[in-house]
Amino acid sequence: MPNTFIKIASVTVGSGGASSIDFSSIPSTYTDLVVKLSYRTTDATNTATLISNFNNDTAGNYNNRFLFGTGSSTGSGNYTSNGSNYHGYGNISTTTASTFANAEIYIPNYAGSAFKSSSADNVSENNATAANATLSANIWNSTSAINRVTLGVYAQNFAQYSTATLYGIKNS
């Protein structure tokens, strides 16, 4: 049972925003990876859909399943042959100032030779009674070891002070 969190890298988005946050040359010496993310976007009009990609693969090699709640409704869905992992909705620029969505993406056996699963929880925050919460399960149809994780918000930009930290987990 993996029981240690070791910070591999962390980044905070600067004043210009960023379309993506990319962790490359990830060492293969851990059993699992975890990404913890605090974010909002610079876009006022669309939903902020958090996505991730492995090894720069943006082809239709991902399958996604998810459950969500909005505070007033619930639902579920799936995407097949998608171009990324799907993690649900976060904060946009019109949500309450200085509030950030939170997400955690867990990637077990990232250096193994089987297809790569990942799971994530993702919750928006608006200092209000309603919030989007999404649990997602994804699989990347590749046997390659994951050495690169790219985070993005579909067709939007991460806003200043968004942060992402990559942890490695192992049992010793």
């Binding site: 890298a9 980044v11 379309s19 946050i21 990319d22 962790f23 490359s24 040359s25 579909y154 067709a155």
Partner: protein, 71 residues
């Protein structure tokens, strides 16, 4: 200018770089696809609402009464 942040986990180096023309084109395509998908969802929801209202009218019951039937 739209930028991407790249962190090299082996060296710790962090680079913030402008997107390439190809990446910018892809983002525009993504945004267009997203807008189209959202529009499609709105149209589907509106059509479902119209169909639901028509069915309720045909049955001569309210939405709350329909919920009672399914409870």
């Amino acid at each position: 200018m739209t930028t991407a942040i790249e962190v090299n986990c082996a060296t710790g180096e962090v680079v913030e770089r402008p997107l390439t023309a190809e990446e910018l084109a892809q983002r525009e395509a993504d945004a267009a696809a997203f807008a189209a998908a959202e529009h499609e969802k709105e149209v589907a929801a509106a059509e479902a609402a119209v169909a639901k209202a028509a069915l309720l009218a045909k049955l001569g019951i309210t939405e709350d009464e329909a919920k009672l039937l399914l409870a």
